[in-house]
């Protein structure tokens, strides 16, 4: 029979601190991209593009007659629509940043699964009794 683990009783203050800690790291991770001023992949139009938007026509924006009609129904003119039309994502892939992201993701799952396996064996041994291995 496996030895039964007796967990300690946690104080109310300890319970409170645990909740606060968890909430604090959630907020930290929400703020992290802003603190480090990471972009979200959207390209900021260069100044010459911004100037071009002011002088844009539906034709220069590549909009056909139906598109033009729908934009106007929505309350846009070429200048205001141009800001939306020219706002594009940049999908340039940087191998090092992709590599780091993949390494963090894979490392995270390996860590969680490996540690879980160790803990799970303790749970099973305590619940069903230790088996000779």
């Amino acid at each position: 029979m496996a030895k039964i683990y007796q967990p300690p009783k946690q104080s109310r203050l300890g319970q409170f601190i645990d909740c606060v800690f968890l909430i604090a790291i959630v907020y930290g991770s929400l703020m992290l991209p802003l603190l480090f001023n990471f972009g979200n992949g959207e390209e900021t139009p260069p100044p010459e593009t911004a100037a071009a938007v002011q002088e844009a026509t539906w034709e220069s924006l590549g909009q056909n007659a139906v598109m033009q009609q729908q934009w106007e129904k929505l309350g846009f003119d070429p200048a205001s629509a141009g800001e939306i039309i020219n706002d594009r994502f940049d999908y340039t892939i940087e191998p090092w940043s992709l590599g780091i992201t993949a390494a963090i993701l894979i490392g995270y799952f390996i860590f969680v699964l490996t540690f879980s396996e160790k803990e799970y064996r303790e749970v099973i041994d305590e619940r069903f009794g230790k088996r000779q291995r």
């Binding site: 967990p7 929400l30 990471f38 934009w71 929505l74 706002d87 699964l113």
Partner: protein, 464 residues
């Protein structure tokens, strides 16, 4: 020592009430998700164009069909509140379970915050249009969350009955809009030929669109949280979940069809309320009013379902001492996880007021995605540890391990899609889960009883 462990007698312990049927499961799953048709899915148009979004809708539909199949089998067998958290605890191990519990709580609480913001903005908009200028939308955000939390506090049957009614109205509104537009009159009432412009970013845009393609279905797996409260888990969970997936596939297809046929893709990609904007383009006051109500109801239903699910996941973690045990209490009269419901109110409100809606939504999506990655690993270990015939399963999903492998592959593609444009958010959220995992492993787990975590009356898992 016996290889099978009976569940411990717990006559003094209060349990959640078993009062739900398949319609409530449908209302929970579709209720959480349908708001994604009213808003959010269209950001996939910004990332890959309208056609890219349609391809993402189908590919991610496949991902969620795998999720629904896998979840139906495991949940109908592990019929307990906490859903995937409880599954992870029995199949993978404590640290994974802790992470899965956090995925659920974060995904649903953050989605709830985003839903409440939408409700606040819509009510503010009514005020502006009726001359009541100066109404603060934040007051309505708090009121919405507080009212729905009260509903959840008072009982799950009423909560999900209300969800069924308002979700049904929101779904019917999409169908009415589709027929109201008269889609058979191409070139007169709808303009796909002129508005669809191919793939503006090429195929890389299609892959990138997978990220927000998740909004078409994000949250359907929440049906599992009802497992402890349905009268028959083996029947209600698979039936409610599969009917939910069918409903969402129909709603997603109709939504894409009408919106992409009336709105230029660049506008559609950044619209806050694309279905309502589509209704505006028809010029019909009836359709506009209906879609306004549909948007409002969809957001309320989603927030309501999210409160239900987040509270149950948090409650289950408290019950096992993964979180303070204080949260593991059941209300003596209403039989609801009342402390967890109340505790998450200020958290959701604070998320809503951060002004970081983009980050909050991305956190929600990525937490969901991490959960789906877990599911593919979970079901493979489940089948290996307890092969078919070794335990009673309410439902057995076909073609194993094809759905699990397909799910894992699609999850990897969606991580790559998130990297394209939201790589920094992906890393920051992973950092959160890594820190939380280290904290749990080194600190929190010492308060958890080991053997008591395994509560199912199953034989010893193979290879242990």
């Amino acid at each position: 020592m016996s290889d099978t462990v009976a569940q411990a007698p717990e006559k003094d312990r209060l349990f959640l009430l078993k009062v739900l049927g398949p319609t409530h499961v449908w209302a929970l799953g579709v209720g959480i998700v349908l708001v994604g048709e009213y808003m959010g899915w269209n950001f996939s148009v910004a990332k890959g164009g309208a056609l890219g979004s349609l391809i993402a809708c189908w590919v991610i539909g496949l991902l969620y069909t795998c999720v629904a199949m896998i979840d139906s089998e495991v949940t109908s067998t592990v019929a307990a509140a906490g859903g995937q958290y409880t599954q992870a605890k029995h199949i993978i191990g404590p640290l994974m379970a802790f992470n899965v519990g956090l995925y659920l709580v974060m995904a649903y609480t953050m989605l709830e915050a985003a839903d409440a913001l939408v409700v606040g903005d819509l009510i503010h908009q009514i005020g502006v249009e009726t001359g009541a200028v100066g109404l603060d939308p934040r007051a309505f955000v708090v009121l919405t969350i507080a009212f729905l939390a009260w509903l959840n506090y008072r009982g799950v049957l009423m909560t999900l009955t209300v969800n069924f009614l308002i979700t049904a109205v929101a779904f019917v509104a999409i169908i009415v809009l589709f027929f109201g537009i008269q889609p058979w009159q191409e070139g007169q009432t709808i303009f796909h030929r002129e508005l669809l412009t191919g793939l503006p970013y090429g195929w890389i845009g299609v892959v990138a669109a997978l990220q927000f393609g998740m909004w078409y279905y994000l949250g359907i797996e929440g049906t599992c949280q009802a497992a402890e409260e349905v009268r028959s888990a083996g029947r209600s969970i698979p039936l409610g979940t599969m009917l939910g997936m069918i409903t969402l596939l129909i709603a997603a297809s109709l939504t894409w069809f009408v919106a992409s046929g009336l709105l230029p893709w660049e506008y559609l990609g950044q619209s806050v309320v694309p279905l309502y904007d589509t209704a505006r383009m028809t010029g019909s006051p009836f359709l506009q009013s209906l879609l306004f109500i549909g948007t409002l109801f969809a957001a309320i239903a989603s927030a309501n379902g999210c409160i239900n699910d987040a509270a149950r996941a948090w409650f289950s973690m408290g019950r096992d001492k993964y979180m303070p045990i204080w949260f593991g209490a059941v209300h003596p009269r209403y039989r609801t996880p009342f402390r967890s419901i109340v505790f998450l109110i200020p958290i959701a409100v604070s998320f809503a007021f951060t002004g970081l809606l983009d980050q909050v939504i991305t956190f929600s999506i990525l937490s969901g995605l991490l959960g789906y990655t877990f599911m593919s690993i979970n079901v493979m270990k489940f089948r290996r540890s307890w092969p078919l015939g070794s335990i009673d399963r309410g439902y057995v999903h076909p073609f194993h391990p094809v759905p699990a492998l397909m799910l894992l592959t699609l999850c990897l593609a969606t991580y790559f899609a998130t990297y394209l444009g939201y790589g920094a958010q992906l890393i920051s959220i992973l950092v959160f889960y890594i820190i939380a995992s280290i904290w749990f492993a080194l600190h929190r787990y010492r308060y958890v009883a080991r053997g008591d975590q395994f509560t199912m009356a199953w034989p010893r898992p193979a290879n242990y």
